[in-house]
């Protein structure tokens, strides 16, 4: 005898199986294992000039860079906005000055970077197009695509393109300049070493109107073997002694007074302060 309850149970079970499940099962096995703490191998460089050679700057920007280097030699900050706690942005974020963590989800890969205010990137891998009304940011807007290069059913490379990069920026403390039009595009190939899965590479290529050709470097990072690494937090404004007043840099002493950064540097304009008669 078939009970009505059994019929309803079977019907309910059939209905549930027919419904799309809100909790989808993701096959993370097809993505490379990028978990953990990624650090620059001890002693390995990250400077663009060392890894990529001289920047192929157009004459106008070569002149600007020479002026930047002269400013550095005089004690100025050159062209490196993070001196004054402006985020370094791309491509400098991927220089592994400090450790980074890569979190892969099917729609987005997140890169968390413990440097100069704990910055982060979102790399969208959900097939979207570029935004119609982009808002430039220091990290830029990144769209990525996973590539299975060897056809084994598993992704090997994350190809990324980043646009809408906010100025000011440079490549690193050398101060090599970007074009003032803010139209730079950065392309990356991020992948693990086939022989050593604890070695990560990021091939970074900058396409910018200040350059005569694309400018590329290959950045290396290695995975910290500690399964529970320490993550330091870095906050630029906590105790930054580098002050900019107008276009002039100054150094704040431990006793809270302004000091000159450059030789024979004039003090800042104090015309808004009331001048007391002595």
């Amino acid at each position: 005898m078939i009970y009505r309850g059994s019929i309803w149970s079977v019907a309910l079970a059939a209905a549930l199986l027919a419904m799309p499940s809100a909790a989808q099962v993701v096959d993370f096995g097809k993505y490379p294992d990028l978990k953990g703490q990624w650090v620059r191998p001890p002693g390995s460089p990250n400077n663009w000039l060392r890894l990529a050679g001289p920047a192929p700057l157009k004459p106008e920007y070569q002149k600007i860079w020479e002026e930047i280097q002269a400013d550095l030699k005089a004690g100025g900050p050159g062209n490196w906005p993070s001196t004054f706690c402006i985020p370094a942005g791309m491509p400098a974020m991927m220089s592994f000055y400090d450790p980074a963590e890569i979190i892969v989800t099917p729609e987005t890969t997140y890169i968390l970077i413990s440097h100069n205010d704990d910055s982060y990137r979102r790399i969208y891998t959900d097939g979207r197009d570029w935004p119609a009304e982009p808002v430039p940011t220091f990290a830029g807007y990144s769209i990525g695509k996973w590539i299975d290069e060897d056809g084994d059913g598993k992704f090997d490379v994350l190809e990324v393109e980043t646009r809408f990069l906010k100025l000011p920026r440079s490549y690193d403390i050398s101060g090599v300049p970007f074009h003032s039009d803010g139209q730079a595009i950065i392309k990356e190939r991020i992948y693990l070493d086939k022989a050593d899965r604890n070695m990560l590479y990021d091939e970074i290529t900058v396409i910018d109107n200040a350059l005569t050709r694309p400018y590329s470097k290959k950045q290396t990072a290695t995975r910290n073997p500690d399964p529970r690494p320490v993550w330091h937090s870095d906050h630029c404004s906590e105790n930054n002694p580098h002050i900019r007043i107008g276009n002039e840099p100054y150094f704040l002493s431990a006793d809270g007074k302004l000091m000159p950064s450059k030789k024979n540097q004039a003090p800042p304009d104090l015309s808004y302060f009331k001048q007391t008669q002595k």
Binding site: A88, N116, C236, S261
Partner: protein, 127 residues
């Protein structure tokens, strides 16, 4: 009063520390080519972002005190060399080799390699 060194000491180390590891800003504002030696007493060791600081009281030849503001690596970089916020304290007597500010003001850059206690002992034994 500063004592000028006649020879550049461990210049490669200071320059190395001014490179990739410390990326908050360029350290070109400090004169690595003309490093100087300071002896003094720690007023404060600031173990902070984005850079650590040693505030050093240096007695001049005339008996006056000059307070030096010395900028170093980030805590996250120092910890890899075995340093912590407790590595130095107020009252510690140090002998340091620093790269001074190009402006001539009493500021500069310090490194672990260029910092020892006045008796010559290392502050931290690097791991």
């Amino acid at each position: 009063m500063r004592q000028r060194l006649s020879v550049i000491l461990v210049s490669g180390t200071l320059i190395a520390m001014g490179g990739a590891a410390m990326a908050h800003h360029s350290f070109a504002m400090f004169d690595n080519e003309n490093q100087i030696e300071l002896e003094g007493i720690v007023r404060e060791f600031k173990y902070t972002s984005p850079h650590t600081f040693i505030v050093l009281e240096v007695k001049a030849q005339d008996g006056g005190i000059t307070v030096w503001t010395l900028e170093g690596a980030t805590p996250s970089a120092l910890v890899r060399e075995g340093w912590s916020g407790k590595s130095l304290k107020a009252g510690d007597e140090l002998k340091m080799t620093i790269a001074p500010l190009r402006s001539g003001a009493p500021g500069g850059m310090w490194t672990p390699q260029g910092t020892r206690f006045r008796d010559g002992k290392a502050v931290v034994i690097s791991p």
